[in-house]
Symmetry: C2
Subunit: 487 residues, 2 copies
């Protein structure tokens, strides 16, 4: 296409609903006019094609406008997690070589801390509203970067996944062919727009010409109200949310044709409850580095095979490999490897991590699973050590590094322990320096200064030594077992 | 994707229905096994990547298998119109440099005539059935040719439009986003698979993982029976078919969400009748050189703007130009020009025609229309002189050339006259050589030997001279007026 999707979309269906937010509706025409205002003001600030712009905002119309305005200008979105500490944010902005950060009243304090370090910051309120200025036209290309989305990894350092418009387009197409798409679709999402799962809903809806029903964070009452009021046809959830919804409602609206649940393995119990309650559960597997969805199982199949996440989307290919990189047969567990046009271009400014992750054009996800005889994927474990708690990914290495910074700590090992509502809870086993002592409270206070709240260990267990495997690695399963036993 | 769509589709949904034919269903798994048999036997005949293979068959499972088997082998489908004379067929096969022609009992006589001219022919029955042989794997590319589809033109010589898998893929995607697509869709089509409209339904359904309900030609009783029995959700029609359906039924099945009507302008009367009968009419404009659909209007809008064909599909762009190639503003009629990834690669072996038709990457359709203030397309006239009769395109230049071959004919001019049921009827005005005489019957018999039946003039009017415009061109409108007046 010659121009950015929103421009092309408005030419085709200006009257269709683009956004529903707190009961108010924006048509694509209205959205586009607002986006033009943002684009003109950003251009006035000197935002140019290829420039990385940090966005530190709650979900809402302003965020949606910025995503489109940056794309319209050829600038690159760097969505930042609001739950990060100033130190974490500062590291990410620097890593992305971001030169401008956009905040609002909710994130002003964090922005102030960054401004003190020399980052140029702007209040989003100053970018909104109509203007006669018109941002320069920028030629649109599927190969251009849309965003740098940070994702942590086994090294403990967040890495910026480079996602192009092409990555998102093929993701949108593969998703549409698996889930179906109808002109009257309305997709309810409260997932943060700084996560690929939230961002993808917004971009694909623009391509489809369908509506996003947006919320900021999961409020069970507001979510239920929207489900009943807004003609929602699809929604994206993490298991924690679905669990809470199941506790609060018995009737599900007839309009709802799919409840996509991803982010962590769905337990058999949750799948069974959904089947009983008539929830059209579609289990899904995806990751930032593949622009979101990789595989999804539709409700009819999910009811028969609870726990599986189905087959790869059209255009996406999967294989399971052993440590030697050899393809494993059906039924054997190994690393999940993804190939296809949704796979990211690499990690920004991190050639070593890119080379480790993109091998011969394939994405080594680090996630462990197997494909059964039918080709359906079963996810056994996210990246060998990631903890998924309430929909957020927590990388043990990052938490361990902070714990080890404390002078009393000799060794630390962080695991996820199973939790009914949150999926997993962060827990740490700590070995102290000989002769030193420190309380759990002091250690947690130390962490709180350095880590976002959702990454904090909910429990700390002090040990004499970390249990090791025969090969000398920490025995993760043994640590988890000790944590569970001591509960 | 690494492999051809059918292979990828079977990995994802082998159990879904691919084909419904005479009440029997084939799953994608079953279809694929049959296709493998065809592919292995074709490979055994030496069919190699890039080779052009003529297919002269009625619609049916064998045709569907061949389309996929040729794609599976990397060979190029040359679908041939069964209604052509041996001379016309021979010309097309030679033009496409086809080295093999596949026929069945219904087309055996035509194939025999071609065999007499040295074309290698094979009965499709000999290619069917299970086999242990496996055709060699051929790397799949979106840039590879899928078919050479013949379309006539103003020069009167059929031209072979080069369509790639990429052309079809983007057409399928743009169509899905306009029409919507659901996993349970079933598309009823009786359009011939040698027309792009029929072929596209088959290819897109494979990408979507949805079912084609196939019929060979339009039989109103069989069509109605299928509509009521087969859970049809979408159907493709030409106005003539829709007109006949409206005469025979009052109730339309609830499953039907779209009746796509294209191939000729829909009259206001037909649109009104559809609205009254509750037919979900979607008007559409497309052409072979753009891999079928270019623009489509959905039922809700079509009811408000009867006669328009709506806005271009996503990924496809339109403009209207004057004779100088300048873009015309809304409301002004001119030539419809199409840009985008569905536009063909050119005409096979016809650089001159390609250069005339593809100008700066844009497709000059030759069709005349305008876009209104909303961007909706109104089609005024297919290629300045094409006649659309009962869904078949007839090119006056081709009929005129045959008429002029007759020694008694000095000049001939062929037009379409409006016809309620057929859309247009072919009619010829003929000027005889001075002193010569020939009857209408003799002239038609002369044409019948050289032209497919649907191209034959239904009426011949003898004149003293062809009426001319001020600039010396034949006054088409005046000829049509005289024809209508004399009826």
């Amino acid at each position: 296409m010659a121009e950015y999707w929103l421009t092309e979309r408005v030419r085709r269906s200006p009257g269709r609903v683009a956004l529903v937010w707190e009961g108010r509706e924006w048509s694509y025409g209205q959205l586009s006019r607002e986006v033009e205002g943002y684009a003109a003001r950003l251009a006035g600030l000197g935002v140019a094609p290829g420039q990385r712009v940090g966005v530190l905002l709650p979900n809402g119309p302003a965020y949606m406008c910025l995503v489109h305005a940056l794309a319209r200008l050829g600038a690159v979105l760097v969505p930042l997690n609001r739950r990060l500490t100033p130190a974490e944010l500062s590291w990410q902005v620097a890593q992305a070589e971001g030169t401008l950060l956009i905040y609002d009243e909710q994130t002003a304090a964090q922005a102030e801390a960054l401004a003190a370090e020399g980052v140029v910051t702007r209040d989003v309120a100053a970018l909104a509203g109509a203007t006669d200025a018109i941002a320069p036209l920028h030629p649109f290309s599927l190969d251009a970067l849309q965003a740098i989305v940070f994702t942590s990894g086994t090294t403990g350092r967040p890495k910026g996944a480079l996602l192009t418009f092409g990555n998102h387009l093929w993701s949108a197409m593969g998703s549409a062919l698996r889930l179906g798409v109808l002109p009257e679709d309305r997709w309810l999402s409260c997932l943060p727009l700084y996560h690929v799962g939230g961002l993808a809903v917004l971009l694909r809806s623009c391509l489809y010409g369908t509506a996003v029903v947006l919320q900021d964070g999961f409020d069970v009452a507001a979510f239920n109200e929207s489900l009943d009021r807004d003609g929602v046809t699809i929604t994206s959830l993490v298991p924690t949310m679905l669990y809470r919804l199941l506790l609060t409602r018995e009737q599900w609206p007839e309009s709802l044709r799919l409840a996509l649940v991803g982010g962590a393995a769905t337990t058999l119990e949750l799948a069974t409850r959904c089947a009983e309650a008539g929830v059209p559960l579609a289990t899904t597997y995806g990751l930032t580095e593949a622009a979101s969805q990789v595989a999804t199982m539709l409700p009819a199949e999910a009811a028969k095979k609870p726990g599986s996440v189905g087959r790869p989307l059209m255009f996406t290919e999967l294989r399971i490999i052993n440590e030697a990189g050899e393809t494993l047969p059906a039924g054997e567990a190994g690393e999940i490897v993804v190939r296809g046009p949704t796979v990211m271009q690499g990690y920004y400014g991190d050639a070593a991590a890119t080379a480790q992750t993109l091998v011969d054009g394939e994405l080594r996800t680090g996630d462990v699973g197997y494909q059964d005889e039918d080709g359906d994927l079963w996810l056994l474990q996210r990246r060998s050590d990631v903890i998924v708690s309430g929909g957020e990914n927590v990388y043990p290495a990052e938490v361990e590094a902070v714990l080890r910074e404390h002078e009393a700590v000799a060794a630390a090992f962080v695991v996820g322990v199973p939790h009914m509502e949150w999926g997993q809870q962060v827990a740490a086993m700590v070995v102290l320096e000989s002769g030193r002592n420190v309380s759990e409270e002091v250690l947690l206070a130390f962490c709180r200064e350095r880590l976002a709240g959702y990454k904090l260990p909910r429990r700390v267990m002090f040990g004499e030594a970390l249990p090791l495997t025969a090969s000398g690695k920490v025995a993760r399963a043994e640590v988890v077992a000790q944590m569970v036993a001591s509960n």
